[in-house]
Amino acid sequence: MCVTCGCGQNGATRIDGEALGAHEHEHVLADGTRVVHRHEHGNDAAHDEQMHIRALQHGHDIASMANAVFLPISGKSFEHTHAAEHGHAHTHTAVPPQERREIPTELVRLETALLDKNQRIATRNRIALAKRGVLALNLMSSPGAGKTSLLVRTLTDLAAEIPMSVVEGDQETSADAERIRATGARAVQINTGAGCHLEADMLERALHTLSPAEGSVLFIENVGNLVCPALFDLGEYARIVVLSVTEGDDKPLKYPHMFRSAQLMLLTKIDLLPYVSFDPARAEANAREVNPQIQCLRLSVTSGEGLANWYQQLRSLLQEVATESVA
């Protein structure tokens, strides 16, 4: 609880359910919107009172909130605008903030999407790939789910049939790219260093080096991580999430962002099912719960079971891309 104003609980980080920190807290508006803000406790005057007023005054539904713009204007009052369909009348009391700055300030509206740059580059990648009829697949999973093993097997089995290349993302080492190159396929390794995911500009640079052949499959093996790769569009045609049976079948529920963003889920290592408590049907049901549209395939790179279905899926996706690039 905030010791200055006695309101709210604070933001996102919780350890064993306990919130951290005392200087940042949130207000829950009547419509469920949460406003998180910080204020300097050394100086009560700096408390952003406008947020409290906003919290008290509003009772809009979520849909209108999604489009609403709220901007406190320093030194005067606060105003906000609503989406066009917002149809009710209400007044907002203009309350001068307790904070008075000595210098006049200027408010600049930006309305810029933070991931705009990544999105623009991703779109550029997508167009460039589509023009060449390249099927780009973004493979994501936690570390050790078997992405590289699946690729090595796929590249070996389909070498004579489909031209394929690989972009490998890892924090460090070129070990994975070397494993891929051992199959004869072309591969580029991206080391993200401190980064935990691939971004569109990394793929763009990799594409310059790799220059994937027309009508080929480009596998993009993202950094092993079930969290942030979901946030970054690379310009891929489809996203594939790989889940191995040595993990928990509740992973789709634990990492919903990832499973929601993917079109296909591959359950790998199914040859180990007799030795683990993983229930593949439950895993698939969980995946569909967060993403009703997701397709699911089960396979084992070791036994070869289910690989035929995966290869068939690749062929039909490649066909889809070829059709679209002609159209």
Partner: protein
């Protein structure tokens, strides 16, 4: 971890738009379903802002709650029933599980407050 990269973007975009003016405050709209932690963004913000026109600026994060709408009948899901995982959320009207996200993935810089050039 990825909050650092996101925050660098934020500081880069705002710096560019400020055209050399000192920035006092930035309003960032952030959906609760962006896989970002507001606290981590704030932590990174103070560090990344050092040595830029944003140094010492206040970052206000406006959180936008998750909103779901039924694809079948158009009913909005009750925000109180949307859990962290959003699992087991079905339409209260028609029991469909096909719910489309209407809010919660926002990640927008809304505005900045700058000091006019002397």
């Amino acid at each position: 971890m990825h909050e650092l990269g996101i925050t660098r973007n934020l500081v880069a975009i705002v710096s560019e738009q400020a055209h050399g003016k000192r920035v006092l405050r930035v309003w960032l709209e952030m959906g609760t379903r962006t896989a970002l932690m507001p606290d981590a963004v704030r932590f990174c913000f103070d560090v990344v802002a050092l040595g830029t026109v944003l140094e010492g600026a206040v970052l206000d994060i406006l959180e936008i709650a998750a909103g779901l709408q039924c694809e079948e009948c158009g009913t909005y899901a009750d925000p109180d029933r949307i859990t962290d995982q959003e699992t087991a959320v079905i339409c209260a009207q028609c029991q469909s599980s096909k719910l489309r996200r209407r809010s919660g993935e926002e990640l927008n810089i809304k505005a900045m407050e700058v000091e006019p050039c002397a």
